[in-house]
């Protein structure tokens, strides 16, 4: 595993908890985002994720740097899966540890919000009768710079 990684393989969760843990840390928050079958009444058959892999891994590492600046003492690992994913598969995992739990909770939520803004990964929803790439207009130069 890498600390900030895009992978085609199913995500094995426990190694990311272990990676961020050391004797300074008192809490680990591990978030897993899963493929949802129903979105606004529409049934998804499966998802297809695509990434600009080298840039996506750089942007995940940037999010890790932003978290370190905002919450000193935290440790972060993030992995995002790409390729075809079935209902309930793990698409993304964010693991953050901190000496005290509040920082890990806050940093973890910050990470998923930033992933949705600046990491070049795209989701295609495949339905029974069609398919569509998803995405809002984020990922601009402005978004890429950390906001205080």
């Amino acid at each position: 595993m890498k600390q900030f990684e895009v992978t085609h393989d199913p995500i094995q969760t426990e190694q990311y908890r272990a990676y961020v843990l050391d004797e300074h840390q008192g809490g680990v928050v591990v978030f897993t985002g899963h493929v949802r079958e129903w979105t606004k009444g529409i049934k998804t058959e499966y998802l297809e994720y695509e990434a600009y892999v080298p840039m996506a891994e750089k942007k995940l590492a940037q999010i890790g740097d932003e978290i370190t600046q905002r919450w000193p003492g935290t440790r972060t690992a993030i992995v995002h899966r790409i390729g075809p994913l079935n209902i309930s598969d793990i698409a993304v995992l964010i693991s953050v540890s901190s000496p005290h739990r509040k920082d890990a909770y806050r940093a973890n939520e910050y990470a998923i919000e930033r992933i949705k803004e600046i990491v070049p990964i795209w989701k295609k929803e495949i339905w029974e009768d069609g398919a569509q790439w998803q995405g809002h207009q984020h990922g601009s130069h402005k978004d890429a710079i950390e906001e205080d």
Binding site: Y52, P120, W122, K123, W133, G135, H136, G139
Partner: protein, 77 residues
Amino acid sequence: MKVLYFAELKEILNVQSEEMNINSEITVETFKQTLIEQYPQIAEKQFQIAVNEEFVPSDAIIQQNDIVALIPPVSGG
């Protein structure tokens, strides 16, 4: 320069990457205009430009050996 396409843009144009020759250094804005002239089918699509794996503003300069990526609205997570 090498140009990379992803997601919806890749499907519309049916191309993943291609080499493009530029005569001199051009701005990102000029590159986008040139690209849309060549591919009018993506004129209405939203995308950002990344140069060498970093988002850049529209007045940034693209050089001959750069890797330029069209980044449609992202939807990871």
